[in-house]
């Protein structure tokens, strides 16, 4: 119980720190909604299309949080003596990472809430026609592989290179995964590659869930395989990092 209190308190202060950095809030919470308002809503062909794009931009918001907060955050933590300092205090192992994940979840909720509000206010989406609870479950579970990817990249890159590397991964996955525009309108080569990307599979699962289309088994398995792969590499990277830094 005491450990959970510690994780919650660290997550609270981490959230507070991030909220005090306007650029972080803009890029993770405001930007997905703004982007959706400017480029998503005007291009929605009908209400189903708008629901799909809402789902896409929610995923875009979640990706921004899990990649930036986990990736850049962990890369910065590794080079900070504050991180070493926390290790010598009595507390659970993995305190920093757990609190970062919890804080990331809160920011992801804020980002998604922003997109949904934009859909309601500017797109006049009728929420009652779609399955948002099912969508929320898929959105949450589907975020796990990307969270592992964010944490993994945070362990692999330096603080200085984290921002460009994470931006590159984020923008590539979002664009080529069809989260900004329907995959059918992507250039041919990108369209072909797109089907193998985890972000495209994530998108397919989200679109199916919100429109209540049957979920394809192979898509669920594909994303699970990505998740497992990222998780295993993350476990190895974490072990190596511990070895390098603390042994």
């Amino acid at each position: 119980m005491r450990d959970l209190t510690l994780i919650a308190k660290h997550a609270y202060y981490l959230t507070l720190e991030n909220l005090r950095q306007p650029m972080y809030v803009i890029s993770t919470v405001v930007f997905p909604s703004l982007f959706f308002w400017f480029f998503g809503i005007p291009n929605a062909p009908d209400e189903d299309g708008l629901a799909m794009l809402t789902a896409s931009f929610c995923a875009f918001g979640v990706l921004s949080v899990v990649l930036f907060q986990f990736g850049i955050g962990i890369a910065n933590d590794r080079e900070s003596t504050w991180y070493s300092y926390l290790r010598i205090l009595p507390g659970p192992r993995g305190l920093q990472m757990s609190s970062r994940i919890l804080s990331g979840f809160l920011f992801a909720c804020l980002s998604v809430a922003g997109v949904l509000m934009t859909a309601k206010i500017f797109g006049e989406l009728n929420f009652q026609n779609y399955l948002w609870l099912q969508f929320a479950v898929v959105l949450l579970l589907g975020a796990i592989p990307f969270s592992c990817l964010g944490l993994l990249l945070g362990l692999l890159v330096s603080a200085r290179s984290a921002t460009p590397v994470l931006n590159l991964v984020y923008l590539t996955l979002s664009f080529a995964g069809g989260l900004w525009m329907p995959p059918e309108v992507l250039p041919k080569l990108v369209r072909e590659i797109s089907t193998y990307l985890p972000s495209r599979i994530y998108g397919e699962l989200l679109w199916a869930s919100v429109l209540n289309r049957p979920l394809e088994n192979h898509e669920g398995l594909g994303l699970a395989a990505y998740g497992l792969g990222f998780f295993l590499i993350l476990a190895v990277a974490l072990h190596r990092e511990e070895d390098k830094t603390f042994r």
């Binding site: 209190t5 510690l6 308190k9 660290h10 202060y13 507070l16 720190e17 005090r20 950095q21 900070s80 003596t81 504050w82 070493s84 300092y85 290790r87 010598i88 205090l89 009595p90 507390g91 603390f246 042994r247």
Partner: protein, 274 residues
């Protein structure tokens, strides 16, 4: 009672780079100064003591338990010369957060008064001066009511007043039964506060004893002056007698300077003369 016990502790970085073997113990109610030039192995020794690095050989115990155990962690207060602070949190928030790690932390109000943190209490740490941050750092060293303080170059960034306050806090902590290990590369700092000095150089303990026992062997002074248009320079281990002799010699000397060697210089001379 032994608070810290290092037994033949070694840490190898590569075939040619290592520190140790280090064997020493620290007792209660004692301020021990770990004196050594930059790169001597002070910080690595501290990291092993705190459980952040594992020794490649030997044994480290604190109160008879392994370094890094939960019970040991709750009895240590630590600050580092290059500790980075969360820049967007206030002093109050950081101290509140750190207090959560301990069973019975000191009340925040007490810390605020004791370390005169009123002005910085609601300010984000990123906007504080080095000295102000050090004061906050000292408050967080003591928040968990530690029995043992480990201070790595604690005077970095402190002005004269700050140093005075630090020395008085350390003395009060020792008098209340606490043990202190602090590192510095400044001989004069060591003589201000230490009951005992461990001199480390090239990864091994070179000298271990009371302040007088240690500072005597390292008390070298450099004489420099002009004589017949030529610069003369030499090092003395008995500067008072040599100065008297020089002045009584009747030689035509000018621009006389007598300067105490800093630790790095003194250790080189000490090694050469041994």
């Amino acid at each position: 009672m032994k608070v810290v016990d290092f037994q033949k502790v070694e840490r190898a970085f590569s075939k040619s780079s290592r520190i140790g073997p280090l064997t020493f113990s620290l007792a209660e109610k004692q301020v021990t100064v770990f004196l050594g030039p930059n790169g001597a192995g002070k910080t690595t020794t501290f990291k092993m003591l705190l459980g952040l690095r594992r020794p490649t050989a030997g044994r480290i115990e604190l109160w008879g338990e392994a370094a890094g155990s939960k019970s040991v962690k709750s009895r240590i207060g630590y600050t580092s010369q290059d500790l980075s602070y969360p820049p967007h949190l206030t002093a109050e928030e950081v101290l509140s957060l750190l207090g959560t790690h301990f069973e019975n932390p000191l009340p925040l109000g007490d810390l605020q008064d004791r370390f005169q943190l009123e002005k910085v209490w609601k300010k984000q740490l990123g906007g504080l001066s080095g000295g102000e941050r050090r004061r906050v750092g000292l408050a967080w060293d003591l928040i968990g009511l530690p029995k043992f303080l480990v201070l790595d170059e604690p005077t970095t960034g402190l002005d004269a007043d700050g140093k005075k306050r630090l020395w008085s806090e350390i003395a009060a902590f020792r008098d209340s039964g606490g043990t202190v290990l602090l590192s510095t590369h400044d001989i004069s700092e060591a003589s201000t506060i230490g009951d005992r000095v461990l001199v480390i150089d090239k990864g091994t303990i070179q000298l271990d004893g009371s302040m007088n026992e240690i500072l005597g062997p390292l008390d070298y002074k450099r004489f420099r002056y002009l004589q017949n248009g030529m610069v003369k320079e030499w090092i003395s281990h008995q500067s008072d007698a040599d100065a008297r002799k020089l002045l009584a010699s009747g030689e035509d000397i000018s621009n006389l300077e007598i300067r105490r060697l800093n630790l790095e210089e003194a250790l080189v001379v000490y090694r050469e003369q041994r």
